[in-house]
């Protein structure tokens, strides 16, 4: 029986080529899309779980309390001394380690030098995470502070081999470190990834100040494991007062707590002290997208099979009269849907392999299908069962319920209200989903353009920056002169941070006539010397830039328009502002600079003269000259003056573009999936219209004999589909509006949703639907009525 059914299922597939093609390609696309998304979801789920014992690993965090004892903020960064005190006081702690944020560190083996992502951490980190060691002993790796742990790739890049224990690496041009361990490269879905790891002691030795206990500097990440059987809630209760007990000043009330590392990535966003999401929201969106696309493909399958039911009714009738039970028929139809699903899954895996590189590029991940993982096979089997069952269930149960006598007499009420409305309902669901996605795509696109068009307040074009480091500190003036003389650049400036993104702020500025509470105003802070406005092309509204001629300017500052407004200054020029214990005259007012995320409101900004704090050198390229030559020239000059460091030139406009990465990615994803869902829905519609045309062959024949025109018949056949799509539109558009309105709420700077989006969506989806169904209608209308009527 099974063998025969299998044979017949294949014969059916081959016989109805169009339907099979629509079913298989639709399902394959749907499955491929959802597999891609689910791979990403799995990638997100396995974040930070790779190194064993993750369920027992915690992240130290701090809640800040306001005056009314409510939690006003939560940070994953703590002071350098809190972990030490906790370790001393709490026997529950097994291992605890501070971890510094990752930054680009210069490593060198002789002339071979480059920058890699490096972190400093306490030796306990190697006990918390069980990395995969190629050589070295995790217990002893950091016994000597002048040690370094490398990843495989970096070891090979530095030494051409992984067998590099005890070799020497020049670190940051400051210290010679011994390689004490080499580990396998870390996966990208690991929050605390690095390419080299050095000991916390070294961090203190090289910089000095981090060694001093400072309860007020919340800068350091801390990870810990608790001993078996420790209740984290009880532990949190116990450590709650640690900060209060140890600090004298009670200006900030803060309570530390531990948070499971496994949840840190996905549920890392806190408001009022309560974890309320994070990456999980994106994961949820992806799951919904995956299931939605799969549902659309399954609906195609269901619809096409039921539409074909008239043809198959006869078969059901015959099978029942020769003794088939309903169960055996259900099994037969399910078998057919499973065969289709299996073929589609194979095709889908091929599609996934084809598109994975592009998808990885888009999401900045390294996803891959691991074929040797039994769990994955189990999941794929589950997916086949699920899809096959969903896709096949309706035809199986619907078709097998036919009464044989009626089926054979062709008197089954195919147009009974139920079956038609059910099919229409499914089409409405499909198109509803697709329309929501189209609305989302259009609004995302509008918002993205709106953000991109937001004035920056400076000219990012032909603006480049490089790190201010090494010899460039003592030789800055020489460097600047040589650059300007080379005519490769038209202006050069140094500053505490990049102009491209917010990297520093301060509060507590004081000025004459300030109101109560003005002390809390947070100012974006840039510290610089001369030519900052000129280099960045920031518009001066009043006053002047810092000028070399005036000695008093070395303690001056400039304010942005918004700053002046928020400070309530009537005549800002010449006023004095207290910053860092110094009264500073305001010499200039400049137009606002968009320094924070482009989605946020403008902050007040202060540009303060300070030659001591500089991390970045910014230059404006001479646009009248060839850019490549200019860059080469700049590189040459830099290398001459600062030979120990590689030259790292970045274009500011590409740094600015990175700010849109998330929205850009969402926009591309929604574009992609809106397109896919429309395509798969239309595949289904195409199939349905074909069957509807086929079913109505006789009617069309009669109408043509009676004198109907081709256009009239096309209209007749298309109108019901267009109606269905219109119902979907009416239902889906408000949903799309609500979702996107809610989404836009997270942005301070956002578009308002206008009717244009909906008009565009409506017109385009109706046109697409019309285009899809009218081809079949046209074919049916063109056919010779004699052929149609002959068969009856």
């Amino acid at each position: 029986m099974f063998k025969l059914n299998l044979k017949i299922a294949f014969r059916n597939l081959l016989k109805h080529k169009t339907a099979s093609l629509i079913n298989i390609s639709g399902l394959a696309i749907g499955l491929a899309a959802s597999l891609l998304l689910l791979l990403y979801v799995q990638y997100q789920w396995s974040y930070d779980k790779q190194f064993g014992n993750s369920e027992n690993t915690y992240h130290l965090m701090v809640n800040f309390y306001g005056t009314d004892k409510s939690i006003t903020g939560t940070t994953p960064q703590v002071s350098n001394v809190l972990p030490l005190v906790l370790k001393e006081e709490s026997p529950e702690i097994e291992n605890i380690s501070r971890v510094l944020w990752a930054s680009r560190r210069l490593v060198a083996n002789g002339q071979n030098s480059f920058k890699i992502e490096g972190r400093y951490a306490d030796p306990d980190l190697l006990r918390i995470f069980k990395f995969d060691y190629l050589s070295g002993n995790p217990e002893k790796a950091f016994d000597d502070p002048n040690s370094i742990l490398l990843t495989e790739t970096i070891a090979k890049r530095l030494f051409g081999s992984v067998d590099v224990l005890n070799k020497t690496v020049r670190f940051e041009n400051q210290a010679n470190l011994k390689v004490t361990a080499v580990i396998r490269d870390l996966p990208p879905n690991f929050t605390y990834g690095f390419e080299c790891l050095t000991s916390w002691k070294l961090y203190e030795n090289l910089n000095g100040w981090p060694a001093e206990s400072n309860w007020g500097n919340y800068s350091y990440f801390t990870l810990l494991t608790l001993k078996n059987g420790t209740d984290p809630n009880a532990f949190n209760q116990k450590i709650k007062n640690t900060i209060a007990r140890n600090t004298v000043t009670k200006t900030i009330e803060a309570a530390p707590f531990v948070y499971p590392l496994e949840k840190y990535h996905l549920y890392g966003h806190f408001s009022n002290g309560i974890a309320d999401g994070g990456q999980i929201e994106q994961v949820r969106i992806f799951i919904i997208l995956a299931l939605g696309i799969l549902a659309i493909a399954c609906i195609n399958f269901m619809n096409l099979s039921t539409a074909r039911s008239q043809k198959r009714a006869k078969e059901v009738g015959i099978r029942k009269t020769i003794g088939a039970s309903r169960t055996s028929l259900i099994m037969q139809f399910l078998l057919e849907s499973f065969i289709l699903t299996i073929v589609s899954v194979v095709l889908a895996i091929v599609l996934v392999e084809l598109f994975l590189p592009a998808f990885n590029g888009l999401l900045n991940t390294k996803l891959q299908i691991s074929y040797d993982h039994p769990g994955n096979w189990l999941a794929v089997t589950g997916l086949i069962l699920f899809t096959g069952l969903i896709a096949g269930s309706y035809p199986a149960f619907f078709l097998s319920s036919f009464n044989p006598v009626q089926a054979l007499k062709k008197t089954i009420a195919f147009k009974s209200n139920f079956s038609l409305s059910f099919r229409q309902m499914l089409v409405i669901i499909q198109f509803g989903f697709a329309i929501v996605l189209i609305v989302a795509t259009l609004i995302l696109y509008q918002q993205l353009q709106y953000l991109k068009n937001r004035p920056l307040g400076y000219d990012s074009n032909a603006l480049i920056e490089m790190p201010h480091e090494g010899n460039l500190y003592p030789k800055f003036d020489l460097f600047k002169d040589r650059l300007l003389n080379s005519r490769a650049v038209t202006a050069v400036t140094q500053s505490s941070g990049s102009i491209a993104f917010q990297n520093s702020n301060t509060s507590g500025l004081e000025w004459q006539g300030m109101r109560e509470g003005d002390k809390k105003i947070s100012f974006d802070l840039i510290q610089t010397t001369y030519d900052f406005l000129k280099t960045n092309n920031i518009r001066l509204i009043a006053g002047r830039d810092f000028s070399k001629g005036r000695a008093s300017d070395s303690s001056a500052l400039m304010l942005s328009e918004t700053a002046v407004e928020q400070m309530g200054l009537r005549e800002p020029l010449g006023q004095h502002v207290l910053f860092n214990g110094k009264q500073r005259p305001v010499v200039g007012i400049f137009a606002d600079v968009l320094w924070d995320e482009p989605t946020r409101t403008l902050h007040p900004m202060a540009i303060v003269f300070n030659a001591e704090n500089s991390d970045v050198i910014t230059m404006r390229l001479n646009t009248t000259r060839n850019i490549r030559e200019s860059i080469d020239q700049i590189t040459k000059i830099t290398k001459e003056l600062n030979p120990d460091f590689p030259v790292e030139i970045k274009f500011v406009d590409s740094l600015v573009a990175e700010k849109f990465e998330h929205e850009q990615m969402l926009s591309i994803i929604s574009n992609l999936f809106a397109g896919l869902s429309i395509f798969v829905s239309c595949l289904g519609l195409f199939g349905l219209s074909a069957f509807s045309a086929e079913q109505r062959t006789k009617e069309i024949g009669i109408r043509k004999v009676l004198g109907a025109t081709i256009t009239g018949i096309i209209a007749l056949l298309s109108v019901s589909f267009v109606k269905t799509v219109m119902i979907a539109m009416v239902l889906a558009m408000p949903i799309g509006y609500l979702i996107m309105d809610n989404w836009l709420m997270q942005f301070d700077y956002r578009i308002s949703i206008g009717p244009a989006v909906f008009i565009l969506t409506g017109v385009s989806s109706i046109l697409i639907a019309l285009f899809t169904v009218s081809w079949q209608a046209y074919r049916a209308a063109k056919s010779n009525p004699v052929d149609a009527l002959k068969y009856e």
Binding site: L4, E315, R319, I322, G323, S325, R326, L408
Partner: protein, 229 residues
């Protein structure tokens, strides 16, 4: 073998009952060859479908081989039906996607006959019907008469005790029709298979042993046929 008592069949439509069969009471014995005749809409096919358990009477009593069909549950009824009834249709009703051999084999599959026996029975019947050469053809590659032969072969392969035929020759040319009727007669006389056929043709009815005349759902006449052939 078959006892019908007061069989009624009607469809209620908006409170109006339209009767198909009224007070049909009759019995058919093992080995009979009964023809049901009557004008269109007399209820012939409905009666045959009720006999074949494809439709249920609205009212009345139906005993098949001593079992009360109306009160049987679905599974038992299918069981009874699989083992004893073979159906032959006017439009042949072969499954288009199956070859001749597969069509014939299908009822055995549902009856869960073991594979080797299935093969031998199908081979046997193909041989008997001289269709061995055609066993791998699909129905649309056969003539109408050949298709009906396959239909009959399919009805016979499960070794039923009764064959119900709904105008088996309705779509055939007269020579082919005569062949089919000869076959029925042979099956009836040589193998003792009970045959009930619905027919319009006096000639076909002449092959049987008994004629039920149906008019507006009522048995008007029940006559024995004078064997003339």
């Amino acid at each position: 073998m078959i006892e019908l008592k007061n069989i009624e069949k009607y469809y209620a439509n908006k409170g109006v009952k339209s009767y198909i069969l009224r007070h049909v009471t009759t019995s058919i014995k093992q080995g009979e060859f009964v023809s049901i005749m009557g004008p269109s809409g007399a209820g012939k096919s409905t009666l045959l479908n009720i006999l074949g358990m494809l439709e249920e009477p609205t009212y009345g009593q139906y005993e098949f081989m001593g079992e009360d069909v109306v009160s049987l549950n679905e599974r038992k009824r299918i069981e009874l039906y699989r083992n004893h009834i073979g159906f032959v249709f006017q439009a042949y009703h072969l499954i288009d996607e199956m070859t001749v051999a597969e069509n014939i084999e299908a009822p055995l599959l549902y009856k869960k006959v073991p594979g080797s026996e299935r093969k031998s029975r199908v081979a046997d019947i193909l041989d008997r019907f001289n269709m061995v050469a055609k066993s791998d053809l699909f129905p649309n590659q056969l003539s109408g008469g050949q298709q009906q032969l396959v239909g009959i072969a399919r009805a016979l392969v499960a070794q039923p005790s009764i064959i119900l035929a709904d105008e088996p020759t309705g779509n055939l040319q007269s020579t082919q029709a005569l062949q089919i009727m000869d076959l029925f007669k042979k099956l009836n006389e040589e193998e003792g298979i009970t045959i009930v056929q619905v027919t319009h043709s006096e000639v076909n009815a002449g092959y049987g042993s008994r004629i039920l005349h149906l008019l507006d759902g009522v048995i008007k006449e029940d006559v024995a046929v004078q064997q003339t052939v």
